[in-house]
């Protein structure tokens, strides 16, 4: 039998995770996690070198898969570094640390496999695995509130994964009788016109609703908010960037199938309703939010809505949606990494307890300021480019009324976000004792600067390879 790199990667990651679980020695665990990072980087490079090849029958290194895999690998390195700082500072039980890192390895492995999968059932299996590993991360602090967050997350995700499965069953009903039982995306796209419309519509509703729990859209977004709030901040960074992307992969790949059938317009309307409601919900909650971490989580809901609007608009919007989700991952993960430092300074996530951050952590405060500007899509942020393209696509697709509503909502979001961030940065906190403040090493903010720098670079001056990968990802959509 031919040995494939994907097989080595999956087996290696599982093996390393098992070793990390079993091992209680801190140093050896860190070495094992570093070994996994090398495996992850090696696999990513291999995938890039073998563009458009299929391995183990179910994994194809296509444009979308490679883009998101590279994004994941870039974010995973600072995530492990910040987890190391987080766990070191808490003097945690070594058993809990082992479970944490083992869960991180399984999560990253499952995400990578789900990105690359070319078969909807295989995607489904690995998405199920991400829920299980993410719940171990959310439960890390082991108190009542994290138990509550974990319980809600697992329960809502279980319901949503069941909905996706029902969608897959309906999809299998929709296949034409003529001998095809193949649920790979490629086959579904090529057979697009022969699929039964009734079953396909039901399948779209169920699969879309199911994946909204991962991506963070109305109706199933609620569990993700609690999860990002209760998880340690490096894990929160993973949950609100790369785990969101897995929901996007599920929606995008199935949307590509639906877009090649007669239900394209109908599917656009379904997604449009969900997207506009998501932006609305994010606006409402962000304008009265007092918890910094939850505010970041709601900001992710807003961006997920914008990304879906890009798909709805079509044309240049397809390109912009892919660009937006990649750049958003970098911005949002750096915000969450930075939030870990804020918590160490103030020992609180409430906006009432923080303030004057520039005085206590100069480097971190600049990251915060930049990340706020970047997240609200102001130039030179790459998100400005992608949001501008999405708005242009909406305008060209004659969704002017929608564009006006979205712009008003986004303005309110910028006001709400800015109000809290400026309070954090400049207003002196009430009754804050300055004696025992932890000094934050400026080097800990380096990774955030690199991620934010990438956002500018990829947005303003995208390299040719990057552009052609995005074009490959959207090639099956009707133009």
């Amino acid at each position: 039998m031919e040995v494939s790199m994907t097989g080595i990667y999956l087996a290696g990651a599982l093996g390393l995770a098992a070793l990390v679980f079993l091992n209680k020695n801190r140093i050896i665990n860190y070495l094992l996690v570093i070994a996994f990072l090398f495996l992850q980087v090696g696999f990513t490079v291999y995938a890039y070198m073998h563009f458009n090849q299929t391995e183990l029958h179910y994994f194809t290194f296509d444009g979308l898969g490679i883009l998101l895999l590279v994004t994941l690998t870039i974010i995973s390195i600072p995530a492990v570094y910040h987890s190391y700082i987080y766990l070191g500072s808490k003097q945690d039980n070594p058993g809990h640390t082992a479970i944490y890192f083992g869960a991180v390895i399984i999560l990253l492995m499952a995400l990578s496999a789900a990105y690359l999968s070319n078969h909807i059932a295989v995607t489904w299996i690995f998405v199920e695995l991400t829920t299980l590993s993410a719940s171990a991360l959310i439960y890390h602090r082991r108190n009542n509130r994290s138990l509550e967050g974990t319980w809600k997350y697992v329960f809502v995700c279980a319901i949503s994964i069941t909905l996706v499965f029902i969608g897959i069953l309906f999809l299998s009903f929709s296949l034409p009788q003529a001998g095809t039982e193949d649920l790979s995306f490629k086959n579904l796209i090529s057979k697009g016109n022969t699929l039964n419309i009734f079953w396909l519509r039901l399948a779209f509703i169920f699969i879309f609703t199911g994946f909204t729990a991962k991506m963070g859209l109305v109706p199933m977004y609620t569990a993700g908010i609690d999860a990002k709030d209760k998880a340690p901040s490096p894990a929160g960074a993973l949950l609100s960037s790369v785990l969101m992307n897995v929901g996007f992969v599920g929606i995008f790949r199935f949307y590509t199938v639906a877009a090649n059938t007669n239900i394209h317009t109908w599917a656009n309307h379904v997604m449009m309703i969900s997207a506009i409601l998501s932006i609305f919900v994010a606006t409402v909650y962000m304008s009265r939010m007092k918890n910094i971490k939850r505010m970041f989580a709601y900001s992710s809901i807003e961006h997920a809505g914008i990304i879906i609007l890009g798909l709805v608009a079509g044309g240049i919007g397809y390109y912009a949606a892919i660009l937006h989700i990649i750049l958003h991952s970098f911005v949002k993960s750096s915000l969450f990494f930075q939030q870990g430092q804020i918590y160490r300074v103030y020992k609180s996530k409430s906006i009432y307890d923080v303030g004057n951050y520039f005085k206590y952590n100069h480097t971190g405060a600049i990251v915060m300021l930049l990340a706020f500007f970047f997240s609200s899509a102001m130039p030179p942020s790459g998100l400005f480019i992608s949001e501008f393209m999405i708005f242009r696509a909406l305008f060209e697709a004659n969704y002017l009324w929608l564009l006006v509503v979205v712009m008003i909502l986004l303005t309110i979001i910028i006001w709400a976000f800015g109000k809290n961030v400026f309070k954090l940065l400049f207003t002196p906190p009430v009754e804050f004792k300055e004696e025992n403040i932890e000094k934050i090493n400026p080097m800990e903010s380096l990774s955030q600067y690199i991620l934010l720098g990438l956002v500018v670079y990829l947005g303003l001056n995208p390299p040719q390879e990057f552009v052609s990968l995005i074009q490959d990802a959207i090639q099956n959509l009707p133009h």
Binding site: A121, W124, I125, E128, T131, L132, S135, N144, R145, L147, E148, G149, T150, W151, K152, V154, F155, A158, I159, I161, T162, F165, I166, I168, L169, S172, F173, Q177, E181, N196, F198, W199, I225, D226, D229, K230, Y285, R288, M289, R294
Partner: protein, 209 residues
Amino acid sequence: MTNVLLLIFTISLLYLGIAHRLLTYIKILAVQGILLFGIAFIELIQINAVNLTLILLETIVIKTIAIPLFLQYIMKRNRITRDTEPFLPNFISLIIITLIIIATFILSNTITDSRISRIFFVVALSTLFTGLYIIATRHKIITHVMGYLVIENGVFILSLAVGNEMPVLVNLGILLDIFASVFLLGIFVNRIGDELKDVDVDQLKSLKD
């Protein structure tokens, strides 16, 4: 024969709506497991023997024996009170579940595809919505898990409708049991019964905006 079993399954949903005690719920789940065993046996008799054995063992060992026994054990260990504590009176529950079944019947009339038998569609969808209804209208965490198990049974029936053409999908449905066992283990290990006093969803209200 399949139709008879499916009808009994639908009646068990109505019984679920009026049951007062958690123990009755557990018994209904066990009965549903036996019914699923029967349906799977009749429907899937043509598929390969190893796979069939696996599916049948899953329905009988896990759905009918292991999960109900484990639920009973958790109830005793965590000292969960035996009432189901619904938000709505049982009479209204009965009416709503009946309406769910009628609605799926009407929806099934729009199916033009002759390959999929309508009765599977009707029973599966009414089971799904009954499960969601039970989750939405019961107080206890353990009843939520039972509601999820009901949903899972509905999904299993739906997967049997294509089981002959794509047995893989039935096997995938079995993976959903992993989730159910995670819930059960979660309650078991964390003793949610002790920690959050009454095992009531009202205890899960500290995370909100």
